[in-house]
Symmetry: C2
Subunit: 396 residues, 2 copies
């Protein structure tokens, strides 16, 4: 029945996680290939709390590539998306060339439908999860044999930090040195199961339009900051080694100190950019102070803050210290959205930190939502498709 | 009449200026001698707006050294004040040893009375003016022949930046290299008369207790920031050369860019300190944005912001651009204290910058006072004594 074959819709679906770096990616040495000026390392977060769900489909009946994000058609003509499509099709073509029985999916148009279980506006690393899911779903659709590390080189071209979201647990992105980017890829430092009790409390700062996009921001930093080269040359390489070691030893105190120092170092180079880039505001600063007070009260380092290219604080802690860390924030931010979730309800209030009223008030006014999550797995293949058998996007 | 001689009160009075650095001093290589990790450069501000007035007196009738600051007795036992007293007495002793007719003032107790014409709480560099006035007044009391540069080595031991307040106009502090500090002293880059049209608009941020003193803050930066060494090694030396050149050429645009970049660089190393030091808050950041908008609207760099170890913004501009810079702030902050002064009343509103409502509101809420001033002279000897002929402090 050639007619039916003609219209067959091929589908594969995946969910992919967000990751939040503890050694930050900031600066490109090649903007087209998304090659970074330094290596980076992140914790992959649980998909039960934050994930992108993506279906990749193709069919002879599709007339052009299309991408639907959270119900809205998105532009596919950008070089980032185009790079991912091109490279994945080339790998599929290799398979097809070696086995003539395979359907020539590489010649069909793609329909990608994607949806997040968290508000994109929250300024969470949605592009990392988005491109990881896109690459993983198309690779599954094409039944590519490539390893996650190989695929991470493609995801990297979509969004740098996406490469790390192809792994669960603790993953790193080796900057590499080859001009073509062939050695700039992600690898697993430790799986989720190795150190499963890492938790994260995300303090989402009331929506404020991001002043400077990270892409243009990091270019400006590379070009104008006189301190940035030192970060790239000395600071980050030393921290990468120390951080891998800390994770291997499940040494939270070292992990935490490196995380806080590296977040500060990254924001310092933003401030040293000309004109200066400010991502952290008074609310972020109050979150830093609260974490410092929580650690002081505990008599050891039980919490670590980190800030991406925005004001949100991500606070890492271990499960055993949940009452001291998340419990402290629950007490402080009782009225804030987020505690009604299952994870939120489980949190026992147990903070003993003396947080001054001004810091507390700044947090209460500035934080719009709390998201509790934990270290999680890498992309998961799912049968729940966002494109139906006829090739239509399913409303989500 | 030996009895009268016995009780004679010797007096000398001076006023000394505040200076605000454009290449920042941050970091000591020797905490006891106040030897800095890098050179710095500042603009001395007019004493008609900001000054310390100090009388140094001594008498055989005085029983111990005493210092009265703004009507309150201050501690003189600290090593900073003691170093100044000791070094100045040693110089006086040399004079006395070479001329037996001189009264032995070096053996008498000192009474120093000092008063500022601005609120100390405003977080303006009052210790710079204070120690410059103290050293200058005692040197005058002792009739020391030493040059301001020589005296600056003594003032430096009181408060690092005080050494620059012994000169008017544009002055620098050469970090030097001698372990005993003998070559760490201030020098004049250009007198006030060379480039007299430099103006400053100080935006005083509503009083908030300073989190970290600059002395302990800078020690922590030296110890913990991985980016700080680069600032000291490369960034500041290059900027010092460029800044001296810009002043010699009266090139405001270069002066301004270097000023803004160096302020940002200094605050970046504060943020890279562990734990991080934040001196700039949301109000400071709004001032940065306002200056950026003012420059954009002018189509050239007419204003430069700089921030010391606190949230106050000092905005430098040239007299010819007063309407564009101070005029813009006058329009924006019409209700704020400070425009009622003679300088304030002269300012024409003429800003054309499009400052968004959020930035404007942040400034209106956060700025408690505006101080308009200009480049000014070094210490001035005055006959208005704060100690009367009988040795009593005069109420001010």
């Amino acid at each position: 029945m050639p007619l039916m074959m003609e219209n067959e819709v091929y589908r594969a679906s995946t969910t992919a996680p967000v990751n939040i770096a503890v050694i930050k990616y900031w600066g490109k040495r090649d903007a087209k290939l998304n090659l970074p000026t330094n290596s980076s390392l992140s914790v992959t977060l649980s998909q039960s709390d934050l994930r992108t769900h993506t279906t990749a489909s193709c069919s002879r009946s599709f007339t052009h590539d299309i991408l639907i994000l959270n119900g809205k058609e998105d532009d596919v003509s950008g070089h980032r998306t185009q790079s991912c499509f091109r490279e994945l099709r080339a790998l599929r073509k290799e398979l097809e060339d070696s086995d003539s029985k395979l359907p020539t999916l590489s010649q069909q148009s793609l329909k990608i439908v994607s949806s997040n279980n968290f508000p994109t506006a929250a300024g969470l690393a949605s592009s990392a999860a988005g491109f990881a899911a896109l690459v993983r779903a198309i690779a599954d659709l094409y039944q590519l044999p490539q390893s996650p590390a190989e695929l991470s080189k493609i995801a990297r071209q979509g969004s740098g930090s996406a490469c790390r979201s192809l792994f669960g647990g603790y993953s790193a992105w080796a900057m590499g040195s080859a001009p073509d980017g062939s050695d700039s890829l992600a690898y697993e430092v430790a799986p989720q199961s190795y150190w499963p009790d890492m938790r994260a409390c995300i303090l989402v700062v009331s929506a404020e339009k991001k002043g400077v996009s990270s892409t243009s921001g990091m270019q400006l930093t590379v070009k104008t900051s006189t301190l940035f080269a030192e970060r790239v040359r000395e600071t980050v390489p030393a921290r990468m080694r120390a951080m891998e070691q800390a994770i291997k030893e499940k040494d939270f105190e070292t992990f935490a100190e490196l995380t806080m120092r590296d977040s500060n170092s990254f924001h310092a180079t933003c401030l040293d950019t000309y004109p200066p880039i400010f991502y952290m505001g008074d609310t972020s600063r109050a979150a830093v102070r609260a974490v410092e007070k929580i650690n002081e009260a505990a008599g050891r380092t039980v919490a670590a803050y980190t800030f991406d290219a925005g004001p949100n604080a991500v606070v890492y802690y271990q499960e055993k210290d949940e009452a001291l860390v998340a419990g402290q924030f629950k007490e402080l931010l009782a009225e804030t959205q987020g505690w009604e979730t299952e994870r939120g309800q489980r949190v026992q209030e147990g903070g003993k930190a003396e947080i001054d009223e001004k810091t507390a008030e700044t947090l209460r006014v500035g934080i719009s939502r709390v998201i509790l999550t934990a270290v999680g797995e890498g992309p998961i293949s799912v049968q729940d498709h966002l494109v139906d058998e006829k090739g239509e996007a399913v409303a989500v």
